[in-house]
């Protein structure tokens, strides 16, 4: 069934997702105006990337957890614990920076195996298992650090999150290297979009009309290049952005193209049907939790690197930010629905709002009220949409 779709059909077909993108554009515009452009200034954009990257990394793992019909409340504590272990290895032990990274990721994986065991093989609901984990990992963090902060990291380690790639090709007033990387990314996106379109046509599937397709490419390219240009005028390409981009691409593929990803959606959508279709539910649940542990380890490295040390109270409330990002990004509370890109946009909405309000000098208490309301409204909008779709 080959069909060429116009804009209206495209938007209605993806109402759930496009709603989020539209909201995102409005929120960015809103705060850009209120802050008289400061929001989109080179320095501030760089700042947003550095400040919220670890939440986005957590949200990638969290959206998979949520699609599978679970929840993970322990990631904040686990970020603290992995960061603490890394700090002990590098700062107290005097080991090279990469040993800290490996140690943090190993601890994340072990924690994931631990929680995965209870969730998948013993059958304790993830809510309970990770609530226990939240206390457990926080306690272990305090013990690891003997209740005191450790800092600073050697320069190599702190460059993971606070460093930049720049200066390779020089450039007047902006960094050419950054622009080159962004250009390569845009071209890669364009090529893969075009190949996808050709393949869909070859299999007689519906595609968007050519002018619309080109418009979409041009808009995406323009936005991405503008973002890259602003970054290049500041300090260049942040290392965390590279880490984040790799993770987003990898996990988008995992959720949309891999058998594992499909099984996660199947379990969240209908556990019994998945079981009776030969899905090895326990191993998939185990994998979900181990993966979350891994990403919490990565986030632990990024966060400890950015704060240039490990604090006993690090990572508090991170789990809630990550969960909020997923739900704002269209994941369903009941499982079976959600996307990595949606969670990223959800996370960015939270980031832009926090950042915008900080720039405007709105105090912390009001910020929390606003964020709480936005989360509630986003899910309410989703519930309303679903009810309307059902008729």
């Amino acid at each position: 069934m080959t069909a060429i779709l116009n804009l209206k059909e495209l938007v209605t077909r993806n109402a759930r997702q496009s709603g989020i993108y539209i909201a995102f554009v409005f929120i960015v515009a809103f705060f850009a105006i209120l802050t008289e452009g400061t929001l989109l200034s080179p320095g501030n954009l760089t700042n947003i990337v550095l400040q919220y990257s670890y939440i986005l990394i957590l949200a990638i793992g969290m959206v998979i957890v949520i699609i599978g019909g679970h929840i993970d409340l322990s990631v904040g504590s686990l970020v603290a614990l992995t960061g603490a272990v890394s700090a002990v290895v590098v700062i107290r032990g005097g080991n090279p920076w990469w040993m800290g990274v490996l140690a943090a990721i190993a601890v994340g994986l072990i924690a994931g195996v631990w929680q995965g065991f209870w969730v998948a093989f013993v059958g304790i609901p993830a809510f309970i298992t990770t609530l226990a984990g939240m206390l457990l990992f926080r306690g272990l963090t305090l013990q690891t650090l003997n209740n005191i902060s450790l800092s600073p990291f050697p320069t190599e380690y702190s460059k993971i999150a606070a460093g930049f790639q720049n200066g390779l090709f020089g450039g007047p007033g902006f960094d050419v290297f950054t622009l080159v990387i962004f250009a390569i990314a845009v071209v890669g996106y364009g090529v893969s979009a075009l190949r996808g379109r050709r393949a869909r046509l070859a299999y007689k599937q519906s595609v968007e009309a050519m002018p619309l397709f080109i418009t979409r490419l041009v808009v995406v390219a323009a936005v991405v290049m503008a973002f890259g240009y602003q970054l290049s005028r500041s300090r260049g390409l942040p290392n965390v952005l590279i880490i984040l981009a790799i993770l987003i691409i990898a996990y988008t593929l995992v959720t949309t193209r891999s058998v594992f990803g499909r099984h996660v959606y199947a379990i969240g959508g209908n556990l019994n049907a998945a079981m009776l279709s030969g899905v090895k539910v326990r191993w998939v649940n185990f994998g979900i939790m181990v993966n979350m542990g891994f990403l919490a380890g990565v986030a632990g490295v990024v966060f400890s690197s950015r704060s240039n040390g490990a604090q006993p109270s690090a990572g508090q409330m991170f789990e809630l930010d990550a969960i909020a990002a997923c739900f704002i990004g269209g994941a369903a509370v009941t499982g079976g629905v959600g996307r990595v890109t949606g969670a990223m946009v959800g996370g960015l909405i939270m980031a832009v709002m926090s950042n915008g309000m900080q720039l405007m000098g709105i105090d912390q208490s009001t910020q929390q009220v606003v964020k709480g309301l936005v989360l509630l409204l986003a899910v309410a909008f989703d519930v309303y949409n679903k009810r309307r779709a059902r008729g």
Binding site: M1, A202, S258, V259, A273, A274, V337
Partner: protein, 524 residues
């Protein structure tokens, strides 16, 4: 001439893109039992939702006259207040609450203090239970009772609301023959006490049996209202109205071409998953050959589904013992994935709960059990997957605008075709179909039978579990009967009669007395 308690005039209800009802007319006389028949998707349930206020006034076009006055129900609560009560196919009982608590849910018997008066509650509940012929302790949790009794609780609940017009949507779909008979008897009693009933049913013999008049819907329109006392109003007459053509034969014919044995099960014993020591399947045996349709007949709770699911990768029960032979070779199956690898498929009796991911699209439901075929090193070929889905949409005649349509939006018959597609695509050579035509309309049933015929013509083996004896007699080559977890008989089609099967299906113990009785019957 009795007066009309209900008149629905020119009811039109549209959903985005679909006209579910168009100028539907329905008039129900006071004190009658009014049947409503129609294929799935004909608009029966939508019409009842309009009537009971699920779709409030203003949400549809047309007028409803109830008791001679224009009715504008704004909610279910509102319609119930006027004595219109609907009992849905999926029962709305809370399993962990008691019978009495369920009966008075939302209508609690309160004392002067405003707290619940438990003595009054249980006493009143007993009176209502008596009226529906349910003899249980009112404090028993509902989950401990069977579906038949739960249905009675729903009716008692309706009586507690002083019902005048009772709407039943497929009340006997999940009931065995005995419970169905009891329910129909109860409806007659209610009629005698002046309660009007509207009954939606796919079981045409029941409609023919109990309804005073029957309205037939097709494609969202009223086709006709038949007076059932007229001797021309036969089941065939109703079918003709429902499908718009005469179904000269409800079962497509087939010339059996039976080959080698594919699957044999011996000494299969299964224990209940949570109640230790309770045997659910007791030393069962069965075999099926290539190109053969083997039926399993048994009453509700006889262990049919339990037998099938325990065979399908031990997905039911515990302490399972026995041997399974595939093409004569003994095989061990530890989980569902291994069962699928051995070419066994099980299409469940409850497709919504166990068979489909309702929030996912047609394409991904079809591929769900065969991702291995569509993937290389764990990565799925999405385009190939679409192609496969399109092929099945055509070959199985799945009526959907696109394979990207959410399965939850399809009608029951089309959902069932998706389930069958999923298992056919898994390359199974033994397909266990558990009630494959439950809750789907006559036309779609015929299509399902045709698909079964096609499967066996391709040399696959089919095990068909069904509660409907005519269906077994119309499609199978051989029929096993199961009673109380044991295989009580194996009958070739040419020797099978409904009476003979029913006797085997109700046989309590394989005692000598029973077998002597069977012999006696044979000799007579």
């Amino acid at each position: 001439m009795a007066t009309n308690i209900l008149e629905m005039r020119k009811i039109t209800k549209t959903f985005p893109g679909v006209k579910a009802l168009e100028d539907v007319e329905l008039s129900v006389e006071a004190g009658e039992i009014h049947g409503i028949c129609g294929e799935n998707g004909a608009g029966k349930s939508t019409l009842m939702k309009v009537l009971s206020g699920v779709y409030p006034h203003g949400n549809y076009d047309g007028e409803i006259f109830y008791d001679g006055e224009v009715a504008k129900f704004s909610s279910i609560k509102d319609s119930e207040h006027h004595g219109v009560v609907i009992i849905h196919q999926e029962l709305a009982l809370i399993p962990h609450l008691s019978v009495a608590e369920n009966i008075f849910l939302g209508n609690e018997q309160r004392g002067k203090t405003g707290l619940i008066d438990w003595n009054a509650t249980n006493h009143e509940a007993e009176k209502l239970m008596d009226r529906v012929g349910l003899h249980e302790n009112p404090t028993t949790p509902v989950s401990q009772l069977g579906v038949g009794k739960q249905q009675l609780i729903e009716i008692a609940k309706a009586l507690s609301k002083e019902v005048r017009l009772l709407i039943l949507d497929e009340p006997t779909a999940a009931l065995n023959d005995e419970d169905s008979a009891h329910l129909l008897g109860l409806l007659r009693q209610l009629k005698a006490s002046g309660i009007t009933s509207i009954m939606i049913s796919h079981k045409l013999n029941e409609i023919a049996n109990i309804a005073d008049r029957t309205t037939i819907l097709r494609d969202g329109r009223t086709i006709e209202t038949l007076d059932m006392s007229d001797k021309d109003s036969t089941q065939d007459r109703i079918i003709r109205g429902m499908v718009g053509r005469e179904l000269e034969n409800r079962f497509p014919s087939r010339t059996p071409k039976i080959g080698e044995e594919v699957l044999r099960v011996e000494n299969w014993t299964v224990f209940h998953p949570t109640q230790p020591g309770r045997v659910v399947v007791d030393k069962a045996h069965l075999s099926v050959k290539a190109g053969e349709v083997v039926g399993i007949a048994g009453l509700m709770g006889a262990g049919r589904t339990e037998l099938a699911m325990s065979l399908f990768g031990k997905s039911y029960g515990r302490d399972i013992t026995g041997q399974v032979f595939k093409h004569g070779e003994p095989i061990g199956i530890r989980n569902v994935a291994e069962a699928i690898d051995h070419g066994i498929a099980y299409a469940t009796e409850d497709r919504k709960k166990y068979g489909l991911n309702l929030i996912e699209d047609v394409r991904r439901n079809i591929s769900a059990a065969s991702l291995g075929k569509l993937s290389v090193r764990g990565w799925i070929n999405g385009n190939q997957e679409l192609k496969v889905a399109e092929e099945y949409r055509t070959s199985m005649n799945i009526k959907t605008p696109s394979v990207l349509q959410t399965v939850g939006n399809l009608s029951g018959g089309n959902q069932q075709k998706v389930v069958l597609s999923k298992w056919i695509y898994s390359d199974a050579d033994v397909l266990i179909l558990d009630e494959p035509t439950r809750g789907i309309d006559v036309g779609a049933k015929y299509e399902i039978y045709t698909i079964i015929n096609r499967l066996v013509a391709e040399g696959k083996a089919v095990i068909l579990i069904s509660s409907e004896l005519p269906e077994l007699l119309g499609t199978c080559d051989r029929i096993y009967t199961i009673a109380f977890g044991r295989v009580t008989g194996e009958v070739l089609l040419k020797d099978a009669t409904p009476e003979g099967l029913m006797e085997l299906m109700t046989q309590e113990k394989a005692s000598q007395g029973a077998s002597a009785q069977t012999k006696e019957k044979k000799s007579s």
